[in-house]
């Protein structure tokens, strides 16, 4: 990345922000500390300048403080349900072993909130940050690099990325499950997925299903895609949409276990038998997969191992240990009775 800013090499100051936004430093300060006391137009202008320069409000105070704060931040898309909780627990335990405290923010899958949270963690002095998924505005990576805050990206394995990643290959994992589904005679497939546009895990999983279908000579028109927010109720609503379509699929491949459990519950409420009338699959293998009735066929992700590795990598980065490598976590299929032969 290049920029025309001649000051690129030094840490931006409050004065730089004021200059760029054409306001006084007092106004910048007010925008950052009491935003409700500043009119909208000024606030927008100042925040744009903060963003463009990669300014971190508390950086000066931070520099005065101890070099290491022994605090590491993590930003996860949601705290609801167990999807990120188990990996985070292992992440925290491993950090705790090194005397490091973890602070977590939850972005509600919103890029704008995540960016705000990254800035907050940096200005609160986090020694390093764990992020989920690689896909985000390159300016954020530039900002973190300029601030000297190391990051590890989890939930994806990407040797091409210019940050360290620890995760699994979402494409390969979902393709393996789709291969299995197709080998059991399914041809008409529906999928319930998160919006794949800003979610690289979702888009890779979708690509995995498409690749398996294509290899098996199944037309792409036999895949019906319903996008859904995250949640049990949401999975149920998405299932209703699928059932409202003219041709009923024989299997619903869900982007995660929570959506799948919701789809199963709604199917049963509507009088359908799972798997006799419709098969359902998940992704993650969290605890509800086992207690679901019927138990859920899914992709097992070793979340605890991933969290532990992420912590180890981040601690090493903070301590400037060299020669760190991207880490691939292997997934496996868990075939349970929510999937049957067509």
């Amino acid at each position: 990345m290049t920029t025309d800013d001649p000051n690129n090499d030094r840490t931006p100051t409050l004065a730089d922000v004021a200059r760029l936004a054409k306001v006084s430093t007092a106004t910048v300060s007010r925008c950052l500390n009491s935003p409700d006391r500043v009119i909208e137009k000024t606030r927008t202008k100042v925040l744009a300048a903060v963003r463009d320069l990669g300014y971190a409000p508390n950086f000066n105070a931070r520099a005065l403080a101890a070099k290491h704060t022994n605090t590491i931040g993590a930003i996860i898309p949601t705290m609801e349900n167990a999807i990120f909780a188990r990996a985070l627990q292992a992440f925290q335990e491993e950090l705790g072993g090194s005397g490091v405290t973890l602070l977590v923010a939850s972005s509600s899958y919103r890029a704008d909130l995540e960016e705000e949270q990254i800035r907050t963690l940096v200005s609160r002095g986090a020694d390093g940050i764990l992020l989920i998924g690689y896909h985000r505005d390159p300016k954020i990576y530039e900002f973190l690099q300029r601030q000297g805050v190391p990051i590890v990206v989890a939930w994806v394995f990407d040797p091409q990325a210019d940050v360290l990643t620890v995760g699994f290959d979402n494409f390969t994992a979902m393709k393996a499950l789709a291969d299995k589904v197709i080998s059991m005679g399914h041809r008409r497939i529906a999928t319930i997925t998160a919006n794949p546009e800003y979610n690289d895990r979702a888009s890779e999983r979708l690509r995995g299903i498409r690749a398996a279908m294509s290899e098996a000579g199944i037309s792409a028109t036999d895949l019906s895609i319903v996008e859904s927010a995250y949640g049990i109720d949401e999975g149920g609503k998405a299932l209703e949409q699928i059932l409202a379509q003219p041709v009923r699929p024989s299997v619903v491949m869900c982007g995660n276990d929570v959506l799948a459990v919701g789809a199963i519950a709604r199917a049963k409420e509507l009088g359908l038998r799972v798997p006799e009338d419709i098969s359902v699959t998940g992704f993650d293998d969290i605890e509800i997969a086992k207690i679901s009735s019927p138990p859920l066929t899914t992709v097992h992700v070793p979340h605890r191992r991933m969290g532990k590795e992420a912590a180890r990598m981040l601690i090493n980065l903070v301590n400037a240990t060299k020669d760190q490598k991207n880490t691939l976590i292997e997934t496996s299929l868990k075939i349970r009775s929510s999937l049957s032969k067509r």
Copy 2:
């Protein structure tokens, strides 16, 4: 609370810590920033002094920074499963509406970790902190008061507490459920509970069951108590312990929905029918209560309302709004088919 420390009125400094621990300020600094470079004995001595004085490492840097950081912290006992997630989501949404970023730490139900996390949040400049449950070392409340960091305690309603609380009456809520259970003919009751010693929610719920039994003239010896860690598998293991006892209870009242769902799953694996052979109840009414098979009788807690109220109260405290009141959140019973007549 009183203390003999003559310096009680001012913020403790690094030098105060050094004096009390009888080491140099450089050693104190090293203990806080690179603990692995200090021998265990010195470290223990210094950390004891830090604790006794209520010293917050980064306070000086913090004082240099802006007065408000627009960051609020929350410490929850666990991120696993949905138990605290929904309230926290509502808490965060309400804070977000005021431009405040939430940072969360998870204490794994450990008092020592919680204390460390409180200190970290204070030294990272949190404007206020949300805590769960009232029961903790009074020194922590003194420390927070001395640092001028306002707190709100959620999940309990306690007009006697000298901090602001928002929550429900755990005793009354569980007693109402136990009254219902007893009215359906149950006499031999088992309960799966968290260790009540350091968990006021658990001890109050247990007291609720005991009060209902006593009012109905049922002997306390007919209550069988099994303590369990939090988790689906843990609920299953606790159920096995209950079944291994000489007399089988007709109902298992669980301290939360997660334990209850685990108990139901294990009972079914062992060939028992729920509720025909054994009834099971929960507490919280999180999403899995509805998709459990059979659906779970439980106490409905309006978690979202509680989270929203907590945020409102904490924002008001940070802005020094006066005349704040403790807020009682009403719970209600959800009678579903996991509970039947004896």
